[in-house]
């Protein structure tokens, strides 16, 4: 794929006219997907795709397009030439873009990951064997993922990574299930077996009469996967400079009011220790770290090149939506092993689901408990809890009502596959919270 991208990049660059500049991006993958239900295969298949992004620039005028590449050299050249010609014609009438900003300092990088994946049918065999005797449902995805950048100034950036991501549930009955994942770079059947045995053992905890509780305020423990759902919502309009300037940020009270989180809350975009590409779509190399919230106070925005130009600040390589891709929270001081004891009486929530803002300026969000959520008394799991809706502000759950974070953090590789397999990660602790508002 790298050769294919650089070859067509050279072809396009060689045909530029006058003072034109071109920026080219590449997103590709060769993926195998197997989804299963009741520990049997529902759909299995392979997807090969290669998507070329073209931004043709003349002065402050530019025009963008995306093109699916077929892999057939001459055909791809012909289609790319036609698209570039269309963009060139467009430059004659589109207005100058005052917010256009692209990297002019050449910083080429290359990161090529090793292929330590098992053949897909072998992985499938291990997954079905491990799920034998269980009502197992989920998806396994694996294969190489590619990201590339090239411009006519001579910069070349490349990331290739071979990853797998198994995401599954063992269901006991109805909506009572243990959700698990096994993701990484090197397939290890012994590690998979351990994960599946552990999930199976947890299933027994659900085999009790479920508890139904009334709406009200409860002490809760959010496991790292549940915390991931909360911070994912924050990534949707919380940290971006544009959203703050447009007054639509969910964290506007932190930058323009007196909103603060608990001093234990430090959040950062940690590209240096994440799995995503360290270059953006305009050619800027990202800093290793951007501290978003430090000790409860807003520190830095995510700043895309467009926002940087619009608001006169430096970019830090954020994408168009100014969302984090390598998100992490600092750890706290509660040993995870003591989380149940410190919870005393309340809810142990492994997973949250379908979060959305219910009052965006107040950063109040609603969502549901899901999968293995337990009612706890005197530090002991009593049994599974029927699903409950919460509606709570970040300033309470990660602010005035936060008791503490766990001392250990969990690395979570994103498993999103909308359009293509995502390359993103989270490193998160669990959170112990008082007076968490359940509404339905």
């Amino acid at each position: 794929m790298q050769e294919r991208f650089y070859e067509i990049a050279d072809h396009i660059v060689a045909r530029l006219k006058g003072d034109e500049v071109v920026i080219l991006t590449f997103d590709g993958e060769e993926s195998d997907f197997v989804r299963f239900n009741h520990n049997a295969v529902r759909q299995a298949g392979s997807v090969t795709q290669a998507d070329l992004g073209i931004d043709l620039i003349r002065g402050q005028r530019h025009a963008e397009a995306r093109l699916a590449l077929t892999g057939e050299r001459q055909g791809d050249r012909t289609r790319a030439d036609a698209l570039v010609a269309e963009l060139r014609a467009r430059l004659d009438f589109v207005p100058e873009d005052p917010h256009l900003l692209y990297a002019t300092e050449v910083q080429s990088t290359e990161k090529i990951g090793a292929n330590e994946l098992a053949p897909a049918d072998q992985a499938l065999g291990a997954i079905l064997a491990g799920g034998e005797g269980y009502d197992s449902v989920g998806i396994h995805a694996q294969g190489p993922i590619y990201r590339g950048f090239a411009n006519s100034l001579g910069q070349r950036n490349w990331l290739s990574t071979h990853t797998f991501n198994l995401d599954w549930c063992f269901y006991l009955r109805d909506d009572k299930a243990v959700k698990s994942d096994y993701a990484g770079f090197r397939w290890d059947e012994a590690a998979l077996s351990e994960k599946m045995k552990s999930a199976g053992a947890q299933l027994g905890l659900l085999d009790k009469e479920p508890t139904t509780i009334k709406p009200g305020k409860y002490r809760v423990y959010l496991a790292p996967k549940a915390v991931q759902e909360v911070v994912s919502i924050l990534g949707w309009g919380g940290f971006g400079l544009k959203d703050h300037k447009a007054k639509i940020s969910s964290l506007i009270r932190m930058t323009e009011g007196d909103g603060k989180l608990h001093a234990a809350i430090t959040m950062r975009e940690n590209t240096g220790e994440g799995v995503s590409a360290n270059f953006d779509r305009m050619g800027f190399v990202k800093p290793d770290q951007v501290v978003l919230i430090e000790k409860g106070c807003f520190k830095e925005h995510m700043v895309s090149p467009r926002s940087a130009k619009e608001y006169g600040v430096p970019t830090n390589g954020a994408d168009t939506y100014e969302s984090p891709f390598s998100f992490e929270m600092d750890a706290g001081e509660i040993p995870t092993a003591e989380a149940l004891q410190q919870l005393e009486t309340g809810l142990y929530i492994n997973n949250l689901w379908y979060l959305n803002y219910s009052d965006r300026p107040a950063c109040r969000m609603t969502g549901m408990t899901r999968f293995a959520t337990f009612w706890v008394e005197k530090g002991e799991l009593v049994g599974p809890l029927n699903v409950m809706r919460f509606d709570e502000s970040i300033y309470r759950m990660f602010g005035s009502n936060l008791i503490g974070l766990t001392a250990e953090r969990v690395m979570i590789l994103a498993n999103d596959t909308y359009g293509q397999r995502e390359v993103a990660s989270y490193r998160l602790p669990g959170a112990l919270i008082n007076d968490f508002e359940l509404t339905l």
């Binding site: 049997a40 090969t48 447009a246 219910s358």
Partner: protein, 477 residues
């Protein structure tokens, strides 16, 4: 489009078993003007094909952009590999499914073609509508735009199936945010849900060139408005909220793949059980829900679905009683439950799954005045801005951009941050009145997420305004 593809496909057909090719080309354009600055126009040329094979009991897929003979041959081989590798490990003996072999052609009727106006003219139009949104210093952000997609699909099967489809879709949007201090309020055109099939004529009916100034006025009014009150009361929902209420609490729970458990790891399950079909009281007698892919102006219309099944209008819920599932050919074969032609994939990259197309509420007899007049104390809400529902599609919560109190049969003051929550069956059984045809709007969504691997689907909902009783309503902080 797809010249010679049929021959190339037939050149590489396997000797036995079912085999189909779903080739798709899509060109999209997005024109967006934010704060009077034209954002980079997003043009996309996407093309590829999905090969589906049934070999023995197994089902396999392979997708790629390479539509050459060799590319198709690789796809047929890879799909066959997966079918054979999973034949004795599958949820169902797929050889028992009678896959359709459709023949036909479909194209969205268009009154004013997208290309009848130059790109420069369309930019000028979006810029003009954007400029009209900024009438006050408190307007912090504002944008106007138009998205267009022309999708050409060719579906071929090994037994002579050949269905060609060209759809044209237009999605206009306006959005304005007013701000004062740390408070902000946003209004948008149809809650960003006016998505339809057709051409530029859609802009006229959508209010794209008329409604901007009113949206700005409403955003400014919301800044000064009190919060929506809390309590159980009547709730009158405009079509630009109703469409999402239908989508989340009727459409998704009726998807047969959820009922069969396929989506339990991601999108979720359903409170609807297989034995409910034919007898379950889903809602009041005013509730009539149809699956209608034949409305040529609705967003998700077609003649055949992505597995070749003939699309037709069918009742899902009639006078409140559940009749039929949103289940495709394969799901019907697996479950024995009656379904519809709703096997759909978001692009050539993904295999089709059970999806909504147009899931619509049939209009009733009440005018808007009669709906308002029937309320002693309640809230009128419009324009969805928040949605959340549990994984079995039961406990939901929605928020809207704009609310007005209704007292003694009259609309009174504006309220901000209107929200409500409820449980699906209870809520639909509290459906008291349904608006007549004059209240109907064609709405839709461009971003319905579901499936593993994930798919983002375009769905349509044609719905009138509707009135509910005893709803738990509340406001913001």
């Amino acid at each position: 489009m797809f010249e010679g593809l049929k021959q190339r496909f037939h050149d590489v057909l396997p000797a036995s078993g079912f085999c189909s090719l779903r080739a798709e080309h899509e060109r999209t354009e997005m024109i967006r003007v934010r704060q009077n600055v034209l954002q980079p126009i997003q043009t996309s040329e996407d093309e590829g094909a999905m090969v589906t094979r049934i070999v023995g009991a197994g089902l396999g897929y392979a997708a790629a952009s390479d539509l050459s003979t060799e590319g198709l041959r690789r796809g047929v081989e890879r799909a066959g590999y997966w079918a054979e590798a999973t034949a004795r490990k599958s949820v169902f003996d797929f050889s028992r499914v009678a896959m359709p072999h459709p023949r036909g052609e479909y194209e969205t009727p268009v009154a004013k073609a997208w290309d009848s106006m130059s790109l420069a003219e369309k930019i000028a139009m979006a810029t003009r509508e954007c400029e009209r949104l900024k009438t006050d210093d408190r307007i912090a952000d504002f944008e106007a735009g138009i998205w267009y997609a022309r999708t050409t699909t060719l579906y071929l099967t090994n037994a002579g199936g050949e269905a060609r489809r060209v759809t044209h879709r237009v999605y206009p949007f306006l959005r304005v945010t007013a701000s004062e201090g740390t408070a902000s309020q946003t209004r948008s055109l149809g809650a960003l849900g006016i998505c339809r099939q057709g051409g530029l004529e859609i802009l006229d009916g959508a209010g794209f060139m008329t409604d901007g100034p009113q949206l700005t006025e409403e955003a400014l009014a919301l800044l000064k408005a009190p919060n929506c009150p809390s309590g159980k009361m009547d709730l009158l929902l405009e079509a630009d909220q109703m469409h999402l209420q239908i989508h989340e609490s009727i459409g998704h729970p009726l998807e047969l793949d959820r009922i069969l458990g396929d989506e339990r790891n991601y999108a979720g399950t359903s409170f609807v059980k297989p034995e409910y079909f034919g007898s379950f009281r889903y809602g009041s007698e005013h509730l009539n829900i149809v699956f209608d892919p034949t409305d040529t102006q609705a967003f998700a219309s077609y003649d055949f679905d992505d597995d070749g099944a003939k699309a037709e209008k069918l009742y899902l819920i009639e006078k409140g009683i559940l009749k039929r599932a949103l289940g495709s050919t394969i799901s019907q074969a697996r479950s024995g439950i009656p379904g519809v032609a709703n096997s759909r994939a978001d692009t050539w990259r993904r295999p089709p799954i059970d999806r909504m197309a147009n899931v619509n509420l049939e209009p009733g007899n009440a005018s808007m005045e009669e709906l308002i007049g029937a309320v002693e104390r309640g809230v009128y809400m419009r324009a969805n801005n928040s949605w959340s529902i549990d994984d079995s599609r039961n406990k939901f919560q929605f928020g809207c951009e704009y609310g007005r109190l209704i007292e003694n049969g009259k609309l009174v003051g504006v309220v901000k941050n209107p929200n409500y929550r409820g449980v699906s069956q209870t809520f639909w059984n509290n459906l008291k009145m349904v608006g007549d045809a004059s209240t109907v709007q064609r709405m839709g969504a461009i971003n319905c997420g579901k499936g593993e691997p994930n798919q983002v689907m375009r769905v349509g909902h044609v719905t009138p305004t509707a009135l509910f009783t005893e709803v738990d309503v509340f406001g913001g902080e």
